[in-house]
């Protein structure tokens, strides 16, 4: 399983995304609004998920803006801070 697939599986399981399969999530599709359709409360959960599962803290809004664009940006953000 690639790192991106692992991230997708984690999101689907932890956010209880019904009717969404990990393979349905496009790497460059927006996570919020159109795209995966997450909302601001999912964002709260996402901050905690990233910290809990990948050991990376999103310290402020600017980092959040960078990380939460898409699966691609989220994976890049995590890997830059926690290469393991």
């Amino acid at each position: 399983m690639t790192f991106k697939e692992k991230v997708k599986h984690t999101l689907v399981n932890e956010l209880n995304l019904e009717d969404v399969q990990p393979q349905d999530i496009l790497n460059d599709a927006p996570l919020f609004g159109e795209g995966l359709g997450l909302d601001s409360l999912d964002a709260v959960e996402l901050v905690v998920i990233v910290q809990k599962h990948f050991g990376v803290e999103i310290a402020n809004m600017e980092e959040g803006k960078t990380a939460f664009q898409s699966i691609n940006s989220l994976c890049t953000f995590i890997q830059e801070r926690n290469p393991q």
């Binding site: 601001s40 409360l41 996402l46 959040g64």
Partner: protein, 356 residues
């Protein structure tokens, strides 16, 4: 005017005479603005400048009306400002039926038997009470928090909750004067973050703004990036306080539930309970109420502990929202004229019923 003979009393007489004319002019300006605006070049220029400001007020009163009350507080103190609230509220009740109507959403359900004059009296009492709360808020800002006697017997319980290190969600409602609550909470050493949507163009000042003090709490804008999600999580993880309103759904927020409230179904937001489930923070329901001319009481109405292990779907959060709605209903039964949520919480339910 009687001339002043005494050399010692002259300056005082002139000072009071000047203040009298300032207040009289301002009172006349409130009652008959057309006299000034249409005939006096100074006020033509002044009103043009006020009107040309790019922001449109979301507050009920305009900027200069707020300024009038601030001046009244500075010159005559609380009693003078209170005295002015009576004619102002009378004006709004008699000549602004739209505003009176906004008080009826709640009052109709709190006093279903009150019709006609009794209903008008309810609206007047609620509006007058609200006007005095606004005056009190300004007084806290102008004269300092120490000018208000705030009794809060549950400070130790709040400290105990904070000591667990998961942060604390402080849930308020549109009751009493939450600024008084906030000024009391600052006795704790814990930073407070306020999840607050400030309407663009709001002209009524927050208490700290009167004296140019730095904001004693950090404001998180729910309209900011992802509703301030990152800031909320970080604040709670630092063990800080997040203060939210539990009785108002903003905009098109999907995170809401319909809950029985005062005999009908009303909408309540659920975001705070979901955040509590995610972060493990307890929810302390804190209501304030005015108890005297310069005194308030803060009451810890209840502590809601959201189970972090359960499925966080909206329906699973229903028991917690019900608990809050029950606490709020208990409050309005005891203090019917201190509930200032003028938003129609029951509106969507009626609209949907009309469709069927």
């Amino acid at each position: 005017m009687k001339p002043c003979n005494g050399s010692g009393s002259g300056p005082w007489v002139r000072w009071w005479w000047l203040r009298f004319w300032q207040l009289w002019s301002l009172a006349l300006l409130i009652a008959r603005p057309g006299l000034f605006v249409n005939k006096c070049p100074f006020f033509k220029v002044l009103m043009t400048r006020i009107n040309s400001q790019t922001w449109s007020s979301q507050s009920i009163a305009s900027r200069w009306q707020h300024q009038f009350f601030y001046l009244a507080i500075r010159l005559g103190g609380r009693r003078l400002a209170y005295a002015f609230t009576y004619p102002v509220v009378c004006y709004y009740m008699l000549f602004r039926p739209g505003l009176r109507k906004r008080t009826r959403h709640y009052l109709r359900r709190r006093f279903p038997d009150h019709k006609g004059l009794a209903a008008f009296r309810d609206s007047f009492r609620l509006s007058l009470s609200f006007a005095k709360i606004l005056v009190d808020r300004a007084i806290v800002g102008i004269a300092g928090p120490e000018s208000m006697d705030v009794r809060f017997d549950s400070m130790e319980k709040i400290q105990d909750l904070l000591d667990h290190g998961s942060g604390l969600i402080l849930m308020n409602a549109h009751v009493g004067c939450w600024q008084a609550a906030m000024s009391s909470i600052h006795m704790l050493d814990t930073p407070v973050n306020l999840l607050m949507k400030r309407e663009h163009g709001d002209v009524d000042r927050h208490y700290h703004e009167h004296r140019g003090m730095p904001c004693p709490y950090k404001i998180i804008d729910p309209d900011g990036f992802l509703g301030g999600a990152v800031e909320i999580v970080q604040a709670l993880q630092r063990g800080e306080i997040i203060s939210v309103m539990g009785d108002r759904v903003f905009g098109n927020d999907k995170n809401k539930l319909k809950i029985p409230f005062m005999g009908e179904t009303a909408e309540f937001p659920v975001g705070a309970y979901k955040i509590a489930a995610i972060t493990g923070a307890p929810v302390a329901v804190l209501f304030s109420r005015k108890t005297g001319i310069n005194s308030y009481a803060l009451e810890l109405a209840g502590i809601i502990r959201v189970n972090p292990e359960q499925d966080r779907g909206l329906e699973n959060l229903r028991p917690y929202v019900l608990e809050f709605a029950g606490l709020l209903e208990g409050y309005v039964q005891l203090h019917p004229y201190q509930f200032y949520n003028f938003h129609d919480m029951w509106e969507n339910q009626r609209t949907e019923a009309g469709k069927h």
